[in-house]
């Protein structure tokens, strides 16, 4: 969702890097040679033999080198007659990323997307991903993330401990919804976020179902959760 919104509005990644399809060959389908090994022992008319054959992998590698693609690239082979070769590089640093589509018959570069061609949101996402993977700034990056995750573990454990220490005997100790106050704004925010980030939305729905089916209906739970 978020990717589609960004790409559709022209502010994110160019299409085909995360979402959207790759371009297709520029040659006419009827001019493509039939795969000879499939028809090897059959009588084949000349007109079927005549046609374009795909460029070799050596040529693809050459094209990658000529265009300074980061050496960590992968070559994704065409999946159909009209498909393209795709060079895909997601190296440690976001600025070296590349997605390049090559016509499988003519060898022409149909699209060449580098980090500098991502729009603002796309750049931020790419940068966020390499930081998240601990690659963008090397060891410093990884140490910072280690501290962060240790911090989260500490928060989780200390949270449970502190709650346990202060918890009233009969129930969970959560405050009741204050009289006269509503959470409409917050609720709306959750709905919007839940649509933009479907997994987040799903977990909210799941929590609501649990509350509605179990907590509200079983007295013991109701009391425990201070409803």
């Amino acid at each position: 969702m978020a990717q589609n919104i960004a790409t559709n509005s022209g502010t994110g990644y160019p299409p085909s890097i995360w979402v959207g399809s790759a371009p297709t060959t520029t040659v006419k389908t009827k001019d493509i040679a039939d795969v000879p090994w499939a028809a090897q022992n059959l009588l084949v008319p000349t007109s079927t033999i005549q046609g374009y054959i795909p460029v070799s992998i050596d040529e693809i590698v050459q094209i990658a080198q000529q265009n300074n693609v980061h050496p960590t690239y992968e070559v994704i082979y065409p999946r159909s007659k009209e498909g393209v070769f795709t060079l895909s590089a997601f190296p440690p640093k976001a600025k070296d990323e590349a997605t390049i589509h090559i016509d499988q018959y003519t060898g022409a570069i149909l699209a060449d997307y580098r980090y500098e061609h991502y729009e603002f949101v796309g750049k931020v996402m790419a940068w966020g991903i390499t930081i998240h993977k601990g690659l963008e700034y090397g060891l410093v990056n990884q140490i910072a993330l280690l501290m962060l995750s240790l911090g989260i573990i500490a928060v989780v454990i200390s949270g449970v401990v502190l709650w346990w220490k202060r918890k009233p005997k009969a129930h969970i100790g959560a405050p009741k919804l204050p009289e006269g106050k509503t959470a409409k704004g917050f609720f709306a925010l959750m709905v919007v976020m839940g649509i933009i980030f479907p997994l987040f939305g799903l977990s909210i729905v799941f929590a609501l179902i649990i509350e509605w089916l179990i907590i509200k209906r079983v007295d013991k739970f109701k009391k425990f959760f201070n409803h």
Binding site: N4, T7, S21, W37, I49, A108, H132, V155, L199
Partner: protein, 158 residues
């Protein structure tokens, strides 16, 4: 402060997971918002039937995705018989106008042949190969046909 970081982290995780699980539809034509190539296109034109010992034209019609006639920096034709490629033997075609480049050729030995066109503008480069038959085709000829495999192996030798 810590809860702020935690909130950020949870938000980020959800965001990151959603990037991974998403794959739904995209509007048509979004590529227009982003960088686009001026792609060089080529159509190799060979007569459908070629007899041995008779002259014929091999043509390459060059065009460009912006609709202009491309200004080529370079164009070369390579022609070889299946399994008998000689490197560096190229032909310079004649520009007959409107992006049409042509050479006249004559082949004396029947069999499977290849023509490769290498051409480039200052923005785009193409190197297509087209296969074609010369002379009458009999069923026996077809048995000797793993031409593409030959070609691939051949390519990797140099």
């Amino acid at each position: 402060m810590i809860t702020v970081i935690k909130k950020f982290y949870i938000g980020f995780t959800i965001f990151f997971l959603s990037i991974i699980i998403m794959g739904c539809s995209l509007n048509e034509g979004t590529e227009e918002f982003y960088r686009q190539e001026n792609v060089l296109k080529v159509e190799i034109i060979i007569p459908e039937e070629i007899e041995t010992g008779e002259g014929f034209d091999i043509q390459a019609l060059m065009s460009q995705s912006d609709g202009e006639v491309p200004e080529l920096e370079n164009i070369k034709f390579y022609i070889w018989k299946d399994g008998e490629r000689e490197e560096n033997q190229s032909f310079q075609p004649e520009h007959v106008g409107n992006g049409m480049y042509t050479i006249n050729s004559m082949i004396h030995k029947e069999g499977l042949y290849f023509v490769k066109v290498e051409a480039n503008t200052n923005q785009s480069k193409v190197l297509p190969t087209k296969q074609f038959m010369v002379g009458a085709q009999l069923e026996e000829d077809m048995d000797a046909f793993p031409s593409r495999i030959d070609e691939v192996q051949h390519e990797s030798h140099h």
